[in-house]
């Protein structure tokens, strides 16, 4: 197991006062709160932070932790010295963060002397709701148009008969309904942790996230596409093939289309009520002058068109 440097996690000196620690915690908790932060490791950092704070805010635990000495480095292989906690008495309690998810390092130091508040504290005869579980599901944009099934592997901590926490992997096949949006959630009742006593099982929430797409961008239920168009198609008008997540369509480019013009294909966005729209943004691309014939054509245009793209710039 790796050593965790709680002072480093909280960004404070070893000599920091309890007030400093509280301030640092509040500040970092706001920064890394998973509902606020979009940093990919926000959740892990928030957990680490909760764990660090649970130790450093509690003078007993902090004193015990300090006794390990300042020579340990974060990530270093760690075994608690024998009887390291002799002479310390942990009154338990505290927590606040999701203490059920604290690290092995924490467990090895404060183990069963510590019971998280509002966490996995169970007593005989109690009826407790099982915890809800949350997971992200990555789907393709096309799946939102058609619906899909996904096989999802979830790792969940589980208490075994001896009261130890072990990790269990389970696989679920889940139907993704047609018309889902980024960030939307699917609730699977009773698929979270089992309840204690007569308490009901928790729920499993799956949050939808789209894989990045090479062609399309998504905003809510609206979908955006940049469509390359040749200059003559834009100038003269044309019917061209355009991809959509639902398969290719014939798209009419009006005569005299200019760069950046947006064509709206109603109800061709993500299905729903109301369905989204598909916006096609026209990008006029310039053919290369890489042959004598092409160069001649460009020279002819230069001679015959008298076109000044900068006429309105006063130069």
């Amino acid at each position: 197991m790796d050593f965790k440097d709680y002072y480093k996690i909280m960004g404070v000196e070893r000599g920091a006062s309890q007030d400093d620690i509280k301030r640092a915690y509040r500040k970092l908790a706001r920064k890394y709160h998973p509902d606020v932060s979009k940093e990919t490791d926000a959740e892990a950092r928030f957990k680490d932070l909760g764990e660090a704070y649970a130790v450093l805010k509690d003078p007993e635990k902090r004193a015990a932790y300090d006794q390990l000495g300042a020579n340990w480095k974060a990530g270093q292989e760690f075994r608690p010295p024998p009887d390291w906690d002799a002479g310390f008495e942990f009154s338990g309690g505290g927590g606040g963060a999701d203490a059920a998810a604290f690290s092995d390092f924490f467990e090895s130091l404060f183990g069963h002397g510590f019971q998280p508040a509002g966490g996995a504290r169970h007593e005989a005869g109690m009826h407790v709701h099982g915890e809800d579980h949350h997971a992200k599901v990555l789907i393709d944009l096309e799946d939102a148009y058609r619906g899909a099934s996904r096989s999802i592997s979830l790792r969940a901590p589980e208490l075994d008969s001896t009261g130890h926490v072990s990790t269990r992997t389970r696989t679920l096949n889940v139907k993704i309904p047609k018309g889902v949006k980024q960030g939307q959630r699917i609730r699977l009742s009773g698929q979270g942790s089992p309840g204690m006593g007569k308490g009901r099982a928790g729920d499993l929430y799956l949050e939808i996230e789209f894989n990045p797409h090479s062609l399309f961008r998504v905003e809510g239920r609206d979908v955006y596409l940049e469509l390359p168009v040749a200059p003559w198609e834009a100038a003269l008008g044309a019917t061209v093939k355009a991809p959509t997540p639902d398969g290719p369509v014939d798209l009419k480019i009006p005569k005299g289309t200019t760069r950046g013009r947006k064509l709206r294909l109603q109800k061709r966005g993500i299905p729903g009520s109301p369905p989204g729209d598909l916006y096609v943004e026209v990008v006029i691309t310039v053919p290369p002058a890489d042959s004598d014939a092409a160069r001649e054509l460009y020279q002819k245009m230069q001679r015959d068109l008298a076109y000044d793209p900068r006429s309105k710039m006063g130069v």
């Binding site: 908790a29 998973p34 509902d35 096949n173 018309g179 939307q184 959630r185 699917i186 499993l204």
Partner: protein, 105 residues
């Protein structure tokens, strides 16, 4: 391990939850949910609490409100403000992402 395919409930604008269903799903009291409504965090349809109907997206907001209140010790007015700002930032992020061009075309 083979299993049947599970079908969940998509929590979108069309899903409807009663006050009790929403409170149960958050493992909280109806009083707390009523406070959220008074603070404008949740906007159910219906006049009386026993007629209230919450959309599926309310549940996500209620869960987030609960985490923000517990983890960051902010009061409900602060939670309401944070949720509105977070939502606005998410919309802007999606929009920004749309304009972030890559050179693939």
């Amino acid at each position: 391990m083979t299993q049947n395919t599970l079908t969940g409930v998509l929590l979108d604008e069309r899903t409807e939850l009663s006050l009790t269903e929403l409170s149960d799903a958050c493992s909280t009291s109806t009083e707390w949910v009523i406070e959220l409504v008074h603070e404008g965090v949740l906007e159910p349809v219906g006049r009386q609490p026993n007629q209230w109907r919450f959309s599926g997206t309310s549940l996500k907001r209620a869960h987030a409100a609960m985490r923000l209140q517990t983890d960051l010790k902010i009061n409900l007015a602060g939670v309401a403000l944070a949720l509105d700002l977070i939502e606005e930032i998410e919309t802007m992020r999606e929009r920004l992402h749309r304009f972030e061009k890559d050179d693939s075309i």
